[in-house]
């Protein structure tokens, strides 16, 4: 059955402006535009459009407008356009819905209901332009207390320090695997990380030989599919992250569709070209916290206890208890990825309905670890839906040591959040491994833009810290007094551990 009447977007072309240059035909990767020589017109199949805006950007005469289709289904609250479209899509294909990027459902963003304190009269603010504000963070396991011993008439640290990494800003670049994105995206991220003194997580698809030179700013990931994992890989970065789950798809694994598995990716992942690369839900050697400990220590043995080991989980109902187990299992860093966490491809049902907001999970984990007296023994990185420097500050005040950003960094590269990543045909040359499409991304420019974003946010963070009279991330971390809530229920305030604004 045709399903075009109420296609979500429509392409409007001002015929008087269109010169038939065919730029849109070339730029669109979803086959929306085509040239009809018989009539000498450009025709557009609006129902294929995902509103990625690539054609609009490239139309030299400004002839194109993409707009929401006024022919929507009858407006309902419950049966809204998206719900009806999804049903129609599935009635046609019999398949589960797959989409890229993160959950965009309403009412799941708590950042906007959290407000920060500022200095007035009784406590002095700090001017970040004149006075130093430290945004450096140390990520790793800290000893429960500092013990000193005299040595040659000097006091020396008695504790044996666990390995750690040091970032100049609390913003790290989230895991994006080679396969989900192409090598240029990874290289842009790695170079931006170097420029900003932070780290890029290379994701679960291994690390291409060409990127190994950026190892001093790369965190390598180990997921259930164990793609590209050997002793050299584990030692090529500064830290190792075990991916148990991710916010976009808690409880299920990864699935890189065969279309994206090129020869080069087959080589890095060690799988046949063109086949579906599967990482199942569990690591089949990890069915318990004890097993997790075994994997953590396997990685520590493999890296001779020189690199911190992180464990990433999706924020789920009992994240606090799980995080406690992870800390006790010997992890140096816990990564929490909230319901807004993004992905190259996830079943829509899971992405939009499973897992909880990062704000609530983070606060719960931080509190639980404090109550158990082990908070300082492990670092927390929060991720999933961080959109600004302000979100970063709020995350740290809720208990994070640092954050991972993924979607924001991709937007810096040119992503327009069209959610078509799972097709492997990203028109902006990002979520694609196609050699030609990848060339659409300019490496130098991409690197500069991602670095700019991190620098801009870091500046904002400093300004906000200064306004609160705080000059180190340490003093901000878990500092709930600085937060107040608006429009939150008693229960939400309790979980967040904050007071209502005005109190």
């Amino acid at each position: 059955m045709r399903n075009r009447a109420a296609s979500t977007y429509i392409v409007l072309r001002k015929e008087d402006k269109c010169t038939k240059c065919r730029a849109c035909v070339e730029q669109c990767t979803y086959g929306v535009h085509s040239y009809n020589p018989a009539k000498n017109v450009i025709e557009s199949k609006s129902w294929l459009c995902s509103n990625c805006l690539r054609c609009v950007e490239f139309c030299p005469t400004g002839a194109l407008t993409i707009t929401r289709n006024p022919n929507s289904y009858r407006m309902g609250h419950h049966w809204n356009h998206e719900a009806i479209m999804d049903v129609k899509r599935q009635a046609e294909t019999g398949s589960a819905l797959l989409e890229g990027m993160g959950c965009d459902g309403p009412n799941l963003t708590y950042w906007d209901r959290l407000l920060l304190n500022a200095c007035q009269v009784t406590n002095p603010p700090i001017d970040p332009i004149r006075e130093p504000i430290e945004t450096r963070v140390i990520l790793g396991r800290r000893p429960p207390r500092v013990e000193l011993k005299p040595e040659n008439r000097r006091l020396m640290l008695k504790n044996e320090l666990a390995p750690y990494i040091c970032a100049e800003t609390p913003i790290l670049l989230a895991a994006m695997s080679y396969g989900a994105v192409n090598l240029r995206v990874q290289e842009a991220m790695a170079r931006a990380a170097i420029e900003c003194g932070t780290y890029f997580n290379c994701g679960e698809g291994g690390l291409h030989p060409e990127l190994r030179r950026y190892g001093s700013h790369i965190i390598v990931q180990v997921a259930s599919g164990r793609f590209g994992v050997d002793i050299e890989y584990l030692n090529s970065g500064v830290a190792v992250e075990i991916k148990i789950g991710q916010g976009a798809k808690p409880g299920i694994g990864g699935h890189l569709p065969g279309e994206k598995v090129t020869e080069d990716i087959a080589m890095v992942r060690m799988i046949p070209k063109g086949t579906d690369a599967l990482s199942p839900a569990p690591h089949h050697d990890v069915y318990s916290i004890e097993d997790l400990r075994q994997l953590i220590y396997a990685l520590k043995e493999a890296t001779e206890y020189k690199k911190p080991v992180a464990v990433k989980i999706a924020a789920v109902h009992n994240a606090a208890a799980i995080a406690s187990g992870i800390a006790r299992a010997g992890a140096d860093i816990i990564v929490l990825d909230g319901v807004r966490g993004s992905t190259g491809a996830a079943p829509k049902a899971i992405r939009d309905n499973m897992g909880i907001p990062i704000e609530l999970a983070l606060a719960a984990v931080d509190r639980r670890l404090r109550e158990e007296g082990i908070r300082s023994e492990v670092s927390i990185i929060a991720s999933g839906g961080i959109r600004s420097g302000a979100d970063v500050v709020k995350a740290i005040a809720l208990g994070a040591d640092a954050v991972y950003i993924g979607t924001a960094a991709l937007i810096a590269l040119g992503c327009t959040l069209c959610k078509m990543c799972y097709t492997g045909r990203c028109a902006w040359g990002i979520a694609t491994t196609d050699a030609e499409l990848s060339k659409r991304l300019n490496l130098e420019e991409g690197c500069r833009r991602v670095a700019n974003l991190i620098k801009a946010w870091t500046m904002e963070i400093k300004e906000m810290m200064g306004a609160m009279g705080i000059d180190t991330i340490e003093a901000l971390r878990g500092n709930r007094e600085l937060l107040r809530g608006v429009g939150l229920t008693e229960g939400e305030l309790r979980v967040l551990g904050i007071k209502v604004a005005g109190e």
């Binding site: 589960a96 050997d230 050299e232 599967l278 396997a298 493999a302």
Partner: protein, 263 residues
Amino acid sequence: MDLRESLEPRGRLQVDGNVALLDATGLHYRELNALMRRLSAEGVENVELHNVNGQRYIGTGLKRPMNIIVRGTPGNDLGMFINGQRIFVYGNAQDGCGNTMNDGLIVVHGSVGDVAGYAMRGGRIFVRDDAGFRLGIHMKEYGGKKPIIVVGGGAGDFLGEYMAGGLILVLGLKEEKNECVHSPKFVGVGMHGGVIYMRGCTIHAGKNVLVEGVEDEDLKLIRSLVEDYFNHFNLDLRVNDFISDEFVKVTPSTSRPYMGLYR
């Protein structure tokens, strides 16, 4: 005190040229493995471990080639991530034997536990007796690099799950008699590369796999691996007794097991 200095005078560690003998009694895996890495860095290429009792990750993190003889019972993740080292176990290995190994050889004169050869990328594992569940899942392969697992006895369920490459051969022998002892379920579930050869048993295979008889080419391969198996374990059996059309071959029927499930 330095571990080596404490063990040597008591005769628990003897180093002679590139050969070392070590009594592992009471050593934590962290001590044992650190000591082995140190010995390796000092040029030791052959280590015989005695009284091994549950120490994990033996062989992990060694940077140079080493032949390791393990007497006793090694713990989980024996030879995890090894890269060319050779490990000979006189006893049983536990779970995760050869986990994510990249290259080298593991020969177990006994049985192995669950998830042996998980995500194995190269090298070979020979198991004289049986293997537990999930043998050789996620095995990889690329170019000339192809991991191989040969199990003399039976294998547990989910054998070769998610396999992306490599070869698993399960002979199904029992007490050196020509009798089949196993019937694993869900063989090759989610497999998208590689091959499993099994002798005799009824196959309960996963979806998306092909179960066929073997061809001459396969038999040639099987024969050479069976010979290797017999040589490793000094078994006095004639290869020909086992080479017959009893073998079945399991391969993926599709390289896109997830195609069409999502749209």
